[in-house]
Amino acid sequence: MVLAADVPFPPSVEDFFLPSIVPWGAHDSYWFTKITALVWLTSAILIVFFLTAYRKPQLVPTKSQWLAESIYGFVRNNISIEMIGPRGVRFAPYLTTLFCFILLNNFYGIVPFIQISPNSHIAFPAMLAIISYIVFISAGIRHHGFVKYFKMSLVPPAPWFILPLLIPIEFFSTFMVRPFSLAIRLFANMFAGHMLLLVFTLGGFAMLSANLWLLPVSIVSWLMTIALTFLEFLVIVLQAYVFTVLTASYVQGALAEGH
């Protein structure tokens, strides 16, 4: 049991900036840290898994082929086709990759010894949101034509004299709030989850090192950490699902026929 005199409590944003690995121990250098290594690990796992699972597909699937097909089937049937319609099959590969990437990255938040999710740095959700943004806009432009798509999405059915009031709102809500909210939703959930786990874990140690009689309270704190880890697992899966479902919903909105 750690009885260090000073436990780093309360945890702060600085705890999310991990020490640099290459170059070792450099200050203010964040190019290659544990976070970077985790993202590379995710990419490697996904690429290797899906490639080897489908290398020699059998009619009666092997275990990894069954797993890969289940994941793809789940995303294709329940997200792509449910949200976009039969045309959604074209988007299923992107949505599956998105879902798996976010899920695996989020999952590192509760794996022992890793316990930080790259998605708790705004950069990764931001890039994913930008990619989804480009996907739904280009889907709309490709389907409707450039001018017609923007006319359809920016001009609501309203009498002409109210339009100047409504068009800024439409523009803001369709082209600015969407990517922003996608990124922030994922980032905030992962950041807050990690922060909660830090508070309860470090709080237990801090209370213990302040006064040994607080041991029962420390134990309660650590039990809360365990309970919160289960909640965090729920949040991990849910956030990956929500990101993917919302992307599919935006694509559906872009492909929908006019009103």
């Binding site: 699937p61 069954w66 097909e69 289940s70 089937g73 789940f74 294709r76 049937n77 086709i81 449910e82 949200m83 976009i84 319609g85 039969p86 045309r87 099959v89 074209r90 609501p156 059915p157 309203a158 109210i162 009031l165 409504l166 800024p168 709102i169 439409e170 803001f172 809500s173 709030v177 969407r178 909210s181 479902v245 919302l246 919903s249 935006y250 559906q252 909105g253 929908a256 026929e257 009103h259």
Partner: protein, 77 residues
């Protein structure tokens, strides 16, 4: 889940449009966006004219009203 059949018309073609699941989120977004956009424009006018906050307030109210109108028009009362 591999037991699930792929849909009947896998490529191209337009089935019946799936129900719009984003409706609730869209409604909230319109309200918020209306308030923010026109409140922001009102705040800019305030800044330019020098008053303390009246235009931001008017802008926010106008924004909420327009948001409600948009919801009624786009999502069908």
């Amino acid at each position: 889940m591999t037991g699930q059949q792929p849909p009947d018309k896998p490529t191209g073609g337009d089935g019946p449009d799936p129900p719009d699941m984003g409706m609730g989120m869209t409604a909230v977004t319109y309200l918020l966006a209306g308030m923010l956009v026109w409140g922001g424009i009102g705040w800019l006018v305030d800044h330019w004219v020098g008053t303390r906050g009246i235009f931001a307030g008017i802008g926010a109210v106008v924004g909420i009203g327009s948001g409600v109108y948009l919801i009624v028009r786009r999502l069908g009362a």
